[in-house]
Symmetry: C2
Subunit: 368 residues, 2 copies
């Protein structure tokens, strides 16, 4: 696939400007742009500026309120509940994790739920914000129903990610960021575009059983009936632990939806009966200060030690390398900060569209 | 397989007495017995009284200190760090979750780590203790290395379970309790005993690749070299998300081992260089009061609603029922409380051994 490269700082400014043209404040537009570009930098293109189109459409359609500001509904020394007022997910997310960090800096722990929010980008972004304060960061969100509970045939739960970041001393931080489904929906789209069959065990058709046809899965999911969908982590049935992924996805929905006061399960759709509707997505943030349990230098040294031991584990036959979580993304970021971010044609097309619609300059490094 | 039935109260008293004969205090012996029998009652026989043999051996060998009492090392209003003094895991676990519950009842949150502990039984036991206080309970532990990191050939991480329990109104509580591996090691043992092949994707031999031979996997694991092992949830490699299970297992080890100050990764063995050694296992407990985020009645009603919706999801073709987490175990408990707990021959044999060794009466309901 031909890719066009763009410098991450140019992409950041462009994305921020597009959001501002949509009525978003400069500060909140920065939250969105920084999150999307950070995702591209880390190689998680499924959550990068390709999403900008959906945010613009969400504002135009009305299910995202562009000028909303998050409001604190409840607050104690260790806990806060935030109403995102149906605004963009990123400003609400940044507000939420900052609150959690502030509380953890004072008491050792901060736990914050956010309700009535929207898609907040990649979960790891918020967890990683805790690192510069020498805190452990945790971030979760619920999301539109794409995943089928074990033994069901309908998408009922989101791909509900869990992100966890822990500070280190000499090694790079340990950053886990995973959807609780076998694969993200973006992966089905890639297979569909390249006309490849998907492996059995990734997704189900309308019967509730494994299929190798990504087009059918996507058609079922996006025509809005939610028939079939992606399997939870562990795959179909219980043989390989699919009920565990189903459990983890539900746990995320309990914390982000049921507990926060926002929507959960199939109420998370942004179209209901053909009409746009606030999805009322919820997030859960936690910051934890290791120094309340063990001195911080020991914690970071022990994290280094764990990471080094994992990297140096004996490799399976035919395998060149054992990774620790976050490592691939940090290496990708080094590359992309230097050489630019490669964007696919569909994303380029949407950015050029915004450039024309809003008269904002769009500067690429090169085309190939 | 022929099973002998025993009444759960008789089994509790018997187990407690065995522990007391080993020099464990009455209260601590109750913690162990109640946890093991509760596991049997819920149908999780892998963590039931079949484990008693290992605890007795651990005390005899010296890596479990029978008369240890947990000591608070650090404490604030929301956090505590507990030294289990290499005693039994159950009394330390009960001490830990009770501390977390006490703190959550005062401030909304309690987070407690425990270090220098031993096997604490089934993780869900502690999470469920929060329920009677209308709190969410979370419980995790690290454990002896049985799981291979993605692309490795050696068991480096435990099956490190995550348990999460949330209170409900009319429905039974939602209780998730899962090992972060594809299967627990007990499952390989069952296949081995019945001379069945295991499905590919469960475990690896010494090459680091999938095998269908459970005997080989167990032989490799328990001869102490830790070659091969069980795959993390998601299976071999990254195709079905094995790196996600590897991430979750590592996260549990960060919280239970690195953060607590106890052992992590391969240091968790209880034999090192042929000599017994305290495994210095660690646990992580959290209790969270939903009423700090949303009123408690709403929370419980919303939990009910979520559970009912999941149960009533449309079933996959050929499937009779969709379960929610904890449901199967509650139903098993009803059965076993009424009819007795069925024990397998190996467990019976070990109990009869203790009955003779310690002159304690052992009363079965019937043999068949």
């Amino acid at each position: 696939m031909a890719h066009t490269l763009i410098h991450h700082e140019d992409l950041l400014v462009f994305t921020q400007q597009v959001m501002m043209k949509m009525g978003v404040s400069k500060a909140n537009a920065f939250c969105v742009a920084d999150n999307l570009v950070a995702s591209n930098l880390r190689g998680i293109d499924s959550h990068g500026v390709g999403r900008l189109k959906r945010y613009v459409e969400g504002i135009k359609t009305g299910y995202i309120v562009p000028d909303a500001e998050p409001v604190i509904e409840k607050e104690t020394l260790v806990i806060a509940s935030i109403n995102a007022m149906n605004g963009l997910g990123q400003p609400a997310g940044v507000f939420g994790i900052k609150k959690a960090i502030e509380k953890a800096s004072n008491t050792g722990v901060g736990i914050v739920t956010v309700f009535d929010s929207n898609h907040y980008g990649f979960a790891g972004y918020y967890a990683m914000m805790a690192l510069e304060h020498d805190l452990i960061g945790i971030s979760m969100t619920n999301s539109e129903p794409l995943v089928v509970p074990t033994f069901s045939r309908n998408a009922m739960i989101g791909t509900n990610p869990i992100a966890f970041a822990a500070p280190t001393k000499s090694e790079r931080s340990w950053v886990m960021d995973l959807a609780t489904s076998v694969v993200p929906s973006g992966k089905l789209e890639v297979y569909d575009r390249t006309r490849k069959k998907i492996p059995l065990g990734w997704a189900t058709d309308e019967t509730g059983h494994s299929t190798d046809d990504p087009a059918q899965v996507l058609k079922n999911l996006y025509r809005g009936l939610g028939e079939g969908g992606i399997f939870p982590l562990g795959g179909e049935g219980e043989l390989h632990g699919g009920h565990k992924g189903y459990g983890l996805a539900t746990m995320v929905d309990v914390l982000c939806g049921v507990l926060s006061g926002g929507n959960y399960l199939r109420d998370l759709k942004f179209f209901k009966e053909g009409k746009p509707s606030h999805p009322r997505i919820g997030h859960f943030f936690m910051a934890l200060d290791p120094s309340y349990f063990i001195d911080i230098d020991s914690f970071k040294t022990r994290m280094d030690d764990m990471i080094v031991r994992l990297k140096n584990a004996e490799r399976a036959e035919g395998q060149g390398r054992i990774f620790v979580h976050g490592e691939k993304e940090f290496e990708e970021q080094d590359q992309r900060e230097e050489k630019g971010i490669p964007l696919d044609d569909k994303t380029i097309e949407s950015l050029i569209g915004f450039s024309e619609e809003f008269s904002i300059d769009l500067k690429f490094i090169e085309s190939n």
